[in-house]
Subunit: 220 residues, 4 copies
């Protein structure tokens, strides 16, 4: 069906050993459904998780720098060497300058890595789409982490984001995020024209993470 | 003919008493030519300069905040009360996050203030245009302050920026900046499809600022 | 008695015409009490307010830049030319990098302007004191804007900040902020060893601002 | 003798496979000399390198966040789980806000991890020392990457930093960085009262990295 990207954030449950556990759960569920499931993990966990699973692994962020004197920074080349599929860019918790988003998206494209640019409303979705990323993921900040799905609370944001994005760049794919936790929300997102969802706490912090992910993709 | 916006930056020659002097020079020259001349001044100088000249006065920056607990910040409402015409947004020396650019452009529009969003290349010009500002001003960072005019050194950047901007938003007006100092550069910019220029050191730091501005607009 | 610095922030009631009104109230009250009353206003309002009152006027922030290509920035030299007494530095709503705090404090000292470095706990108060500012103002962030006075809720923070500051730099003066609204809180702060208070909403957003300030300094 | 921390930065030669190679070189040299040799690597490389070497491995940066909704961030707990010894903090290429430096240093201390706070001059060294980190590493920014050793070009910066640091906090250890490439520079640093050096390009980008490190610690 659609695209599901699980953002592990800096959750305790999404880092270290528990990140690896969840990555394996996602890998297992991905093998039993028709959806494309990928994960976005911390830079500390990325290299190891890539080795342990067959699903695509994304970085949560890369810096807008080339190789050089940039202590504490990582770049697109580095995540490629580690086997990442691509990176989230400009997540609402890691907002970037426009020029840096463009730098990163261009660099990811050059390296044949996948870019997922997060945006917060229709206008920024249109703007991000003009940079020709692979995906834009619209997440109204006021809904992130609430469990109130954007696909229900603000369906027009999803619909209008899809329209605005395609209008600027017909090839960009649109995800929607913020508040997505269950199959119904996911299906609603697809019905609104999104190609899938970007989600986090609904899966990462679920008591039974395997059950939560199975439910999301309709295996329960 | 075209649009000339003079950015006073934080130059010694562009602040305090010397800012007021230059504002009056610009005001005088504006009255003697067919060009639209406006100035962008520091927040400290804005209120006084607005009172002393009849040309439009822009802020160089406003913060993406509403009224509230934001020590050290100024917003669009405040510059409107002082009589500003609008604001530069996202200058290369004051790069902003995409979500903040959108916030500021929307707020300026609501308040009937003019937005001039600065960009660094064709892709970011397209992205900024999607936010529906009044102007985008493309300035390749490598040329800023060099005296090498973008309209000559990289004419394709100007042409392609105009195309990309209009393609995304037919109503946006395109300025070009970086390295513009003389009438010839200005005319070249207009010939490439720009509606005008954003410039700084070529006028602000000129030995004879009145002569420099007169030359720019073809009065000499 | 002590020092009272009123931070106008970016409050609607603290900018534009209402800022000037409040500045005049503070000026009037200052003439009728033994306390040192100063105000910290937005960069847009600073120049005009300095001309209209005789009390000391501070900037809320200056950038760590010299004169030059720094669009949208203001520096210490500029506020001096406008007649400011000094500047707040590193307010909790405008946190700065350590190297920039040092740059700004040194520059203010060179220009014989007064620096008030805001800090959030005992350790950062000690650190800031090592930079030899005129004042450190400790404000536990969790109390800012609450009306719960630090001098009562966390008296040990004030006492220990005074000790830590004097230990590192015997000449530094310590203010305390966060939640201060009335005379009793102010006196409590002085009793704990502070030289005064930095406050904002309690005065700026009070229904009767003159009455609130008179009450603060014990005139009511 | 002293302490040698090698900062791999985001150099091409300091990341991925070449980082692992260099880590093993450092591990080997450490076993053959009396100096304490440690390395600071990118977050992407950290977990793997920790497993492959017995010398201490530092992160180059951790964010001032706890576990939670902080996409693209890593914290002190995470690097501890990966086996890091500690972290550089506030490197000149990753300058932090004072409150964040304090947050990170305190968190590292709680977790029994080692903190190395970088500073740029005598005043910021004193300030950082007040936060009670394990080390402060003073690096005049104008010398970083130049090959001009601070221990020779500005010996008084090193001496005065040691004095200022010990004055504020007798237990803090002082490193010096910037321009250190050879044994002579290293010895000069120790003679000036530093406990060791923080260095980068002189080793990481050397043609023969093993030879360069051996020379540094006097094995050649």
């Amino acid at each position: 069906m659609g695209v599901v990207i699980i953002n592990f954030k800096a959750y305790r449950e999404g880092s270290g050993k528990r990140a690896l556990e969840l990555a394996k759960i996602a890998d297992d569920v991905a093998g039993r459904c028709d959806d494309y499931i990928a994960i976005a993990v911390t830079s500390l966990d990325l290299a190891e998780i890539v080795k342990e699973v067959s699903i695509d692994v994304f970085a949560q962020h890369v810096d807008a720098v080339d190789f050089g004197s940039h202590t504490g920074r990582i770049n697109a080349e580095m995540i490629k060497e580690k086997g990442a599929k691509g990176s989230l860019v400009n997540h609402s918790e890691r907002r970037l300058r426009l020029a840096d988003i463009e730098h990163i998206v261009s660099k990811l494209r050059e390296l044949s890595l996948t870019s997922v640019v997060c945006t917060n409303n229709v206008a920024t979705t249109a703007a991000a789409s003009a940079l020709k990323p692979d995906y834009v993921a619209v997440e109204p900040p006021e809904l992130i982490g609430t469990g109130i799905p954007v696909s229900k609370a603000e369906p027009e944001v999803v619909e209008n984001s899809v329209k605005a994005a395609k209008n600027v760049n017909p090839e960009v794919k649109v995800l929607c995020g913020a508040g997505i936790t269950c199959h119904e929300d996911y299906v609603a997102a697809l019905d609104l024209g999104a190609e899938g969802v970007l989600l986090a706490s609904g899966i990462v912090k679920a008591k039974d993470r395997k059950a939560a992910l199975e439910e999301l993709v309709g295996l329960r």
